[in-house]
């Protein structure tokens, strides 16, 4: 129980600090790919802290102010369901559904924000966001469902631990599920070529273009946390099955720290590789993305059925 509380605090701290640092690192990497010196690693922290200091202008209804808060809250909530150092702060059976829901909440609030203002670009951005989540969330759902089926667990922590001891004949299917997850992480994380919602050069920041000061800071922060969460999910699904059982034999605290470090490391690696890839691609158009998603979704459904047949 105490461990859970501890890891809750740890999770919150990580969720607040690391997304910003990761973003800074990402910017640095991009800069170097472009032969630039690039901003300091903590640049994003400076940006957010500055935005938090500056006053904001309200150009929408109540939703306009609520949306960023909701986004921020749900982003924070979503990370607490993931294993931090091998222990999810909040874990109960079926929490996988809650996770999905909370995860989607961020995008939804972004949508709401877009529609809450009377601004053609914000609305366009919101439209795109809607199309995106409608086409991607199902895939995420299916991917997690696959894992759930394979492991017969409905809590993320459970899934993570059981994959470690899964029947080796099912491993290929597990890998496929992972690939789905990677794809989702890439899209939902809003990395180029999928950053259509805030495409600066087309719709000038989309839903965010009306925001300023604190609210903007909250929103940006929330989006970064969401990114981080998704990557963290992937990281923990890789780390825990591989190392957690090994360490847990030694001693809880020690293993906790080690696993945490591993997770961070894996997350960082994933993040960097995604960013590096990002630097070499142009933005897709919404119709490209949708058609791509359709195909992926069909594939994932097929595999889902296969798994269902095999496991039940």
């Amino acid at each position: 129980m105490i461990m859970r509380l501890v890891s809750l605090c740890v999770a919150i701290v990580i969720a607040l600090v690391f997304p910003l640092i990761f973003d800074g690192i990402g910017r640095k990497i991009k800069a170097r790919i472009q032969y630039r010196m690039g901003p300091p690693i903590f640049q994003t922290i400076y940006d957010v802290s500055k935005l938090l200091k500056t006053p904001y202008l309200v150009s929408g209804g109540l939703m306009f102010i609520l949306a960023p808060c909701i986004a921020f809250a749900s982003a924070l909530a979503s990370i607490t369901m993931l294993p931090v150092g091998g222990i999810s702060p909040i874990s109960f059976s079926y929490d996988i559904f809650v996770f999905l829901y909370v995860e989607a909440m961020v995008s939804i609030s972004l949508m709401l924000a877009g529609f809450s203002v009377q601004n053609i670009y914000a609305n366009a951005g919101a439209n795109r966001e809607t199309m995106l989540i409608l086409s991607t969330e199902p895939i995420l759902g299916v991917a997690l469902a696959m894992l759930a089926l394979l492991t017969k667990r409905l809590s993320i922590e459970g899934i993570a631990y059981t994959i470690g001891v899964i029947d080796y004949r099912l491993l290929p299917l597990v890998l496929i599920a992972y690939m789905m997850l990677v794809y989702i992480v890439y899209i939902e994380g809003g990395f180029i070529p999928f950053d259509l919602t805030e495409a600066e050069t087309e719709i000038l920041g989309g839903p965010l273009c009306e925001y300023s000061g604190r609210l903007l800071a909250l929103f940006k922060w929330a989006l970064l946390i969401k990114r981080f969460t998704l990557i963290w999910l992937l990281a923990s699904l890789i780390t825990i099955p591989s190392v957690a059982p090994a360490f847990s034999r030694i001693n809880t605290v020690f293993s906790y720290i080690l696993v945490l470090l591993f997770q961070l490391f894996i997350a960082l690696v994933l993040y960097c590789s995604i960013v590096a890839n990002e630097a070499f691609t142009a933005r897709y158009k919404i119709d490209h993305v949708i058609s791509l998603n359709k195909r992926v979704f069909l594939v994932s459904i097929i595999f889902f059925i296969v798994i269902a047949v095999l496991t039940l």
């Binding site: 170097r32 790919i33 032969y35 630039r36 010196m37």
Partner: protein, 170 residues
Amino acid sequence: MSYVTLNYPFEPLEAPPEYRGRPRIDPKLCVGCGACSRVCPSDAIIVEDNYRDGLRRIKLDISRCIRCACCEEACPTGAIKLTREFELASPRKEDFTQIFELRLVKCSICGKPSDYTVRQVEKAKQILSHLPKEEVDEIIKRITVCRECRRKKTIRTTFESIPILGLIRA
């Protein structure tokens, strides 16, 4: 990974020798002929005579200068040059002005300030140095005349030139 970014402003950086930077008037050389102000396309150099205190004031406004180097081309003494300075940013607009005041030469008749500066006259002498002394002096005497006296002079000469008018005067 390596990068090409220059470390300016943390390291000083020189503009190339060909660069057309901020223009500057060298007060030692300037004779105040105002050729620069006549060629300047953006009227960045303004020359105004103040007959009361017999001063000519040359005002160079860098914040309006478009760095075309017309002034440098026109200047007979090489007083105004486009330097290589480019670090000009400033929060105050007054910083961009350079003002230089020259004395106007006294009228050879009435002693009021005329339309030429002392230095201009000296320069003229230098240019005419290949002519004999008395010619030069004559020329100088003719040019250093204030507007009023010149007007009078012209009228008188016209009168004298036309015999009938001369008769009328007599």
